[in-house]
């Protein structure tokens, strides 16, 4: 495996990554003997009623780490455990938000932590079958997860009687095939059923009608990997970490123009200045941070002057952004914001599934407008078009967030870097020397 770039060791905030980097942590033996693995599963199966587990997660205040940040315990409680017939847990391991690599970091370092979280969640919501939908490009994480599941099955932790408890549990892996949209939960379910991944309209929500029309719990890898920690610490113990409304730690992937890019576990509530300038070592010599995406490419950008915004959802909302997937992309003053926005709109146009008209047409329209502007053929009209396309993409005009995300890129870069747009569109010049890739 490549050299570890990110958190490990016994710093107080490393609730998840404490043992990362330990040789052979990915094996069941080391995970159990060294990292105290599967104690939470044992406790959940034998010392707790399913409803207690859900309550413990509710008390912890854990919010989904995939992007939307919904309260995990509340989501679990939406599943009617007593409804007859099969129920499923589906794990979203289709990490593909640009700038995000934390699920890969977890899967490559400690796949058993994810397996343990899945088993606890399945038991809590009354499911016997879990599916892990993992992106097709994650070859190594998939192999490691397959091995972990095989080991757990051989040891009797997965099977008809896990640890001797009369409650069958099974986990299957399903490989994705390259579609960003599958990170969206209902598109993921369509894909899991073997169809084109186009989001469903909601309601009904997956908790009522999910995979194959059955009640389904969908959680992100990091969310489930946090569950064993919550069971071990107790919900109240976990809630003491982080901020009151957004407890715990989360894994932030810091990439771009920083000296030490990596996946850093951070107590929620720390500032981005701490994350970017201290943990990731700040921009290269002689350069300044110009702009950063605080939560993946979909999170509205923040300029350097807002480095002191904190990493909790409330502070980010007040700054008109969001915590998203925790992918912190940093760009220094040698790069042009308009070209970066163009690259991201290319991405959203490419990944739009084509179901909803505003997203399908709007993203493409935006790309063509950027092309005109960057070819020095722009004018005030193009800036007005960007404004109106951005509005058309947002505010729930599409079934899922992909439409909004493209709109947020345009909207936030225009808001904070209006002068760069005007340089390009009105004066046909770029005041930033370096030309970025493909722009």
């Amino acid at each position: 495996m490549a050299e570890l770039r990110g958190s490990s060791g016994d710093a107080p905030q490393n609730l998840l990554t404490r043992w990362f980097g330990t040789p052979n942590l990915h094996t069941l033996d080391v995970y159990e003997s060294k990292a105290g693995g599967y104690t939470a599963l044992r406790k959940a199966l034998f010392d707790m009623a399913p409803a207690d587990i859900t309550n413990e997660v509710k008390t912890s205040g854990l919010r989904g780490r995939g992007g939307a940040g919904f309260a995990t315990g509340v989501k679990w409680s939406f599943i009617n455990r007593d409804a007859p017939g099969p129920k499923y847990v589906v794990v979203n391991a289709d990490e593909s938000e640009p700038g995000t690599a934390k699920d890969r970091y977890i899967l490559e370092n400690s796949p058993h932590m994810v397996v343990e979280g899945i088993l606890i969640a399945a038991y809590a919501v009354g499911a016997n079958q879990a599916w892990v939908y993992i992106r097709g490009e994650y070859d190594e994480p998939r192999r490691m997860l397959v091995e972990a599941i095989d080991e757990a099955r051989a040891k009797g932790y997965i099977g008809p009687r896990p640890m001797g408890k009369d409650y069958p549990l099974d986990i299957q892996i399903y490989r994705g095939h390259g579609a960003y949209i599958c990170g969206e939960e209902t598109a993921l379910l369509e894909s899991l059923e073997g169809k084109r991944a186009q989001p469903r309209s909601r309601p009904p929500f997956p908790a009522v009608k999910g995979a194959w029309g059955r009640p389904t719990l969908l959680n992100n890898v990091e969310t489930l990997a946090t569950v064993p920690t919550i069971i071990n610490m107790g919900g109240a113990g976990y809630a003491k970490v982080g901020t009151a409304k957004n407890p715990g730690t989360r894994l932030l992937t810091v990439s771009g123009n920083v000296r030490k890019p990596g996946v850093y576990e951070v107590e929620i509530g720390k500032t981005f200045r701490h994350v970017i300038m201290e943990l990731a070592g700040g921009p290269p010599e002689g350069r300044k941070v110009k702009v950063f995406w605080p939560g993946g490419s979909s999170a509205p950008v923040l300029p350097e002057s807002m480095l002191d915004v904190t990493t909790d959802a409330e502070a980010l909302a007040a700054a008109k952004s969001m915590g998203g997937s925790g992918g912190v992309i940093v760009m220094d003053d040698s790069h042009c914001v308009v070209k970066a926005a163009y690259r991201l709109l290319q991405f959203y146009a490419h990944e739009s599934c084509g179901k909803c008209t505003p997203c399908r047409i709007g993203q493409d329209w935006a790309v063509r407008t950027y092309e005109r502007i960057l070819a020095n053929e722009g004018s005030q009209i193009d800036l007005d078009i960007l404004r109106s396309v951005s509005d058309g993409l947002q505010n729930g005009r599409s079934l899922c967030g992909l439409g909004d995300s493209g709109g947020w890129v345009i909207d936030s870069t225009l808001r904070h870097f209006r002068d760069e747009y005007e340089d390009h569109a009105l004066r046909h010049e770029c005041n930033v020397g370096r030309v970025m890739a493909h722009a």
Partner: protein
Amino acid sequence: MPALDLAQEELGHLTPEAMTEVATALELDPGYVEGVATFYSLFHLTPVGRHHFYVCTNLSCAIRGSAEIVRRFQEATGVKAPDEVTPDGLFSYEEVECLGACEYAPMMRLDQRFHYDLTPEKIDELIADRKAGRTAPPSPAATPPRERGGEPPPSPAATPPRKRRGAAPPSPAAAPPRKRGGTTRKKKADG
């Protein structure tokens, strides 16, 4: 999708015949199967090289120089566009969206593993190794990549569809033969 996976592993890419065969085996409409195959970017509808470079050019990698990586690949192999394959059938590439290893940018996927901290020199090395037949196995746990590419895919005439119980033979009316390459694959916005 697992069935399409098998077909692609065997042929290197999904031919119209392969998609029809998958549809027949699963008792699905060929149009439905093609719809699925054209949706996902990991299904190849045109031939790719034995060593297909999936180079990430999304923001985190772009900021750290992925354009230079693509350029060096093009110079070193003579392949100019994502649809081209070198005459020896060894190399092709595409620019892909974020592969989720941003702390190692610029990076790419090649031969079922990720390659990190790319430089033009590393690209030269990777190409030279593959030309010489030196490729490290992805990892001890990995299944060896199957040999693929090179020869043209078998035509339906050469390999008659195996008999399957209960499966109707593919009817020409349901699946009109299509020109290879003339697919409705989504255009790569960055291609």
